[in-house]
Symmetry: C2
Subunit: 366 residues, 2 copies
Amino acid sequence: MQQTRLDTDRIRAARRVIDPVFLGTPLYRCEALEPGLGCAVSIKLETANPVRSFKGRGTEVVASLLAERGPRAVVCASAGNLGQALAWSGRGRGLDVTVVASRFATAAKLDRIRALGAGLELVDGDHELARERAAEIARYDGIRLVEDSLDIETCEGAATIGLELVEALERARPGEKAKPGEQAKQADLAELAETAEQAQTADLADPAPPFDAVLIALGGGAMATGVGHVLKALAPGVEVICVQPLGAPAMTRSWHERRVVTTDSTDTIADGVAGRRPIPAVLDDLLLVADDAVLVQEASIIAGMRMLLDHAGLVVEPSAALGIAAILEDRDRFAGRHVVTIVCGGNVDGDAYRRWVGAAPVPHKA
Amino acid sequence: MQQTRLDTDRIRAARRVIDPVFLGTPLYRCEALEPGLGCAVSIKLETANPVRSFKGRGTEVVASLLAERGPRAVVCASAGNLGQALAWSGRGRGLDVTVVASRFATAAKLDRIRALGAGLELVDGDHELARERAAEIARYDGIRLVEDSLDIETCEGAATIGLELVEALERARPGEKAKPGEQAKQADLAELAETAEQAQTADLADPAPPFDAVLIALGGGAMATGVGHVLKALAPGVEVICVQPLGAPAMTRSWHERRVVTTDSTDTIADGVAGRRPIPAVLDDLLLVADDAVLVQEASIIAGMRMLLDHAGLVVEPSAALGIAAILEDRDRFAGRHVVTIVCGGNVDGDAYRRWVGAAPVPHKA
């Protein structure tokens, strides 16, 4: 593989400075989703942590370095999840965190940023205007600007998800998989435990083959390039598929045209991935690690959110349903395969969420 | 501590035969819940696994032993979660699993039991009748009866939650906690990683003190006696509080009267804990490890479910909201403390759940 900006050893080191509360997240097959999708589906759940998104992995790396490098003041633009995560990571390290966001951002995210003690400045425009304003503040006040996806630490943090996926893949390899027969010798629990450890019981009871594709929400590109780098480096056989909303297609179009393509506006409920101006260096990395980048409709994102609620019991934000949306729009592509979808965030406004998923339950068997 | 039926070394051994998909579950502070509760609250999340409840921990131990001991046929009575978990654990080990349940049990649970390939027999009565019928089947067919809470493996499996809680407590001990200052030496990520590992970054950014109470849903008693045993053995300073619905108070009344008290009926939406006939041996253990057992109203359980949905983004079954309900009913008791509540299951019927939590969102700031 050609060189991306990422380095696998640095990613391993990054994992060791991240608060464990963000690591080792659940990865489990969700068979209740499968009748509606036509393939085996495993969920990598990034919402069960103090900020309800994967962004804490990256902000822990950023904040750990800033904590002794200084400056102790930092500013970032955010649609809400990065800002919330940086506020959390900065609070514990005595950093002075300022977040710039669009005044149209998800209220629940803005409330959490304030609650975590960060300074919050709202701009009367979209995320790209917030990015400009954050850069201004950094220049004017001489404080550190954290740029999501451009700052390598944000990619390295997200990339630790990839390390966990690869480790699960190694545990699940048929050769290393425990066969019931292998345990048919002792009856004693302690002896059984040793047998089980030698044989690695991971996925013992899971009849699905190891996963062969990972669906990654694509926004600025930190998660896609980070996770993609690790998979291409350590599990090159796994297909890396990025998913973006049709209403915010800049990075996906850029990937297909192999040059930066910007858009004048965005129109999607997936606030976490609604960028208009891809970062050239991030696109270069994405071109090296992504096998495909697809666009999905809003209706599919909503259908994905409803399926995750009704069949997986998960409340997710629109960006976290992009993977399910991609399967819904191209069942033939995934038929009979085992796909991992990274459920990357769960910060939603209650009323908007209820509007999206509706009051009527989706039929129990989709 | 007097001897319970449990043994901490056996529980450690049990952990090593459980599929990792059920272990190392998320434990994280949920500050968004705290304004509504008046104390620091951490969630131990047992719903992000293939059966959406903690029961897999116990059925993995049961099935691992049966897989080489025989008989290969096994039957259990279940309100739905144990049966689903036994079906999952048995499927991977070639066991013939039969589940007996009340025909009034949660449809979503019964559907999953069938989908996992287990035989399902419904009785025209409540869970106690299902227990009788399961015992009959075991006697008549000469197959293994798995009795939740009575069979020590079901308690040992649940007890592994306690090991994880104790390990988190050890990581969070102020003495072992990393201070930002401790990292103020190197700038290099790899060196920083070593410093971080030595210092243990767990809870670095969490200003809350280590937890001092654990709220455990009380039904048959497997989770309460298992987790309680480990806490009393390894972290005796932590208060172990069992929570049961006022509408299904048999075990709680038995604990207070120090003798088995049965009831003629149950009246609660918390199907997972709705027993009427406590098992004497389990009560004996509970008397040794529980500091308190409290009863909560249905309205508090529903309020707890709504808070977990609106402020934690978690879809939980009624039994999993018992801990929050207990805080809501006795704020003074928990004021200023740090409480862990074990969110033990998330299997609900979509329509019933929507009826409980309602269409109208709970105010964003409770």
